[in-house]
């Protein structure tokens, strides 16, 4: 049969042969990956489970009963984390874009604001977030509660709620990071784009709004999502100024009550439930962009 139409038959055979080889290769690859993963996990488990400290760790970190008792409360308090995160994130996106634009524009009248924006990013990016949370969380209430001699409080309009102050600290800290991300995006838009916009009779502001910013924002999606993940975790820092009701704080309290660290693991699990899907989303996004 192959002899009757040699060329066609041969071609079909070659194709089948190649497909079979590809299948075999991918099967072999899968088998090797599975085997090496098993070996690695086995070695890691052996190292941990045979170590002298393991029984103590097992009892104080992996107590199933404690987990069962405390996890629902922790999961519920995670709702506050989410709300703080969402509000702060919106503020961060706005602060970041405004600061980045101020640092990019060339209008001389805006120079003082440009200088301010530069100082802001330098300072707030340079201070550890936990320090900012302390400074704003305790400093602002002291200002608000400060009395003049006649007993009035001129700054009593300032917020004193720890959760609000902590949110402000987070927004200022992450705003500085995100401003730099945006700025990199703005600078990455080719000069020819601005030229083309101006050549069409657009003003500098219109060129920014319709041509440069839309392209910059599209480009910085993945790095921004990366900063979101970091911010999401740092909501836990609010515990240091006495914000109660976050998942981490709840776990901390349970840990202190029960002399058992398992609740902290429960809190970790909640964070992972949010950050891992975010990370996968980021991967897919970047793969999609690499393809296009």
């Amino acid at each position: 049969m192959a002899d009757a139409v040699p060329s066609e038959g041969a071609a079909r055979d070659r194709r089948a042969e190649r497909a079979a080889a590809r299948r075999a290769r991918s099967l072999r690859g899968g088998a090797i990956a599975a085997f090496s993963t098993l070996v690695f996990l086995g070695a890691a488990a052996w190292l941990i489970f045979t170590s002298p400290g393991w029984p103590v760790v097992r009892d104080s970190f992996f107590d199933a009963q404690v987990f069962e008792e405390t996890f629902p409360g922790i999961a519920e308090s995670f709702w506050l984390d989410i709300r703080v995160f969402l509000v702060v994130e919106v503020a961060v996106l706005i602060i970041g874009l405004v600061v980045a634009l101020l640092r990019t524009v060339r209008a001389p009248a805006l120079f003082p604001l440009k200088l301010l924006a530069t100082i802001y990013t330098d300072v707030f990016r340079g201070i550890p977030t936990i320090l900012l949370v302390y400074l704003i969380g305790f400093g602002v209430p002291a200002l608000a509660l400060g009395e003049t001699e006649d007993g009035s409080r001129p700054l009593d309009w300032l917020p004193t709620e720890p959760v609000v102050l902590g949110g402000i600290a987070l927004a200022l800290s992450y705003g500085a990071y995100v401003a730099e991300v945006y700025r990199a995006g703005l600078n990455s838009v080719h000069r020819g784009q601005r030229d083309a916009a101006l050549a069409l009779g657009l003003t500098e502001a219109q060129a920014l709004r319709h041509v440069i910013v839309p392209q910059a924002v599209r480009r910085v999606g993945p790095p921004l999502l990366n900063d979101f993940i970091a911010l999401q975790k740092d909501v836990a820092l609010l515990a240091v100024i006495g914000v109660t009701g976050t998942a981490f704080r709840e776990a901390q309290i349970e840990t202190a009550n029960l002399f058992d660290y398992t609740p902290l693991l429960g809190a970790a699990l909640m964070y992972l439930l949010v950050t891992i899907p975010c990370a996968r989303l980021l991967d897919r996004w970047e793969r999609g962009r690499a393809r296009s």
Binding site: D195, L198, A199, L200, G201, L202, Q206, Q215, S292
Partner: protein, 251 residues
Amino acid sequence: MSPGKPVVEIRGVTKAFGELEVLCGIDLAVHEHEAVALIGASGSGKSTLLRCIDLLEEIDDGDIFLDGEVITDPSVDAVAVRRRLGLVFQAYNLFPHLNVLDNVLLGLVQGHGMSRAEAEPRARELLARFGLEGRERDNPDRLSGGQQQRVAIARAFATRPRAMLLDEVTSALDPELVGEVLQAVRDLKEEGVTMILATHEMSFAREVADRVCFLHEGRIIEEGPPERILREPERPETQRFLRRLLEAGRA
């Protein structure tokens, strides 16, 4: 050449980037319906001259006039001047985040304050005229280089500029795509559009241009009708330039 005031007039223009003098005293007048080709080696100042006319670069000395009004005075509103000119870039510079139609509409709607409803028929008509019917909703990166450059020409021409400035519009193209872009330029020429084009395509300069100016080291050292400049140039620099092009198979 033509009677009346020139559309674009350049007088004694100089431009330096730091130490590097790119334009060293350019004089040129382009009249209504006239097409002037700027030829010369890379770095001779062709692109810079076009960018100076569109006020994307600030000149150091001299003056440029558009319809008899000086446009290079610091008090002149550069945005209003650019609205009266159309510039097409070598690398197309289409907006990648907008589809083909929106690329053409941006200048009409944002630059000229037309409503979308008003501008869209005009944009569609122009795109169709340059052979891009059916591609309106495509993103520029789905188009070939030749198609992209035709979109860029439609985009610059949509606002009915007083003069079209074409900066090496075929230099970034694969050879087989050059023809379709040249056809679009020919089309403009037939309509009587005033234009200044920097080009490396001598056959095209011969066909479309009423006048050819040879730029050498920032000066126009020879100019005249294409038949004369391209066949019997007088200056040794022009002869050398054309001979080199001929050897490279571009003439």
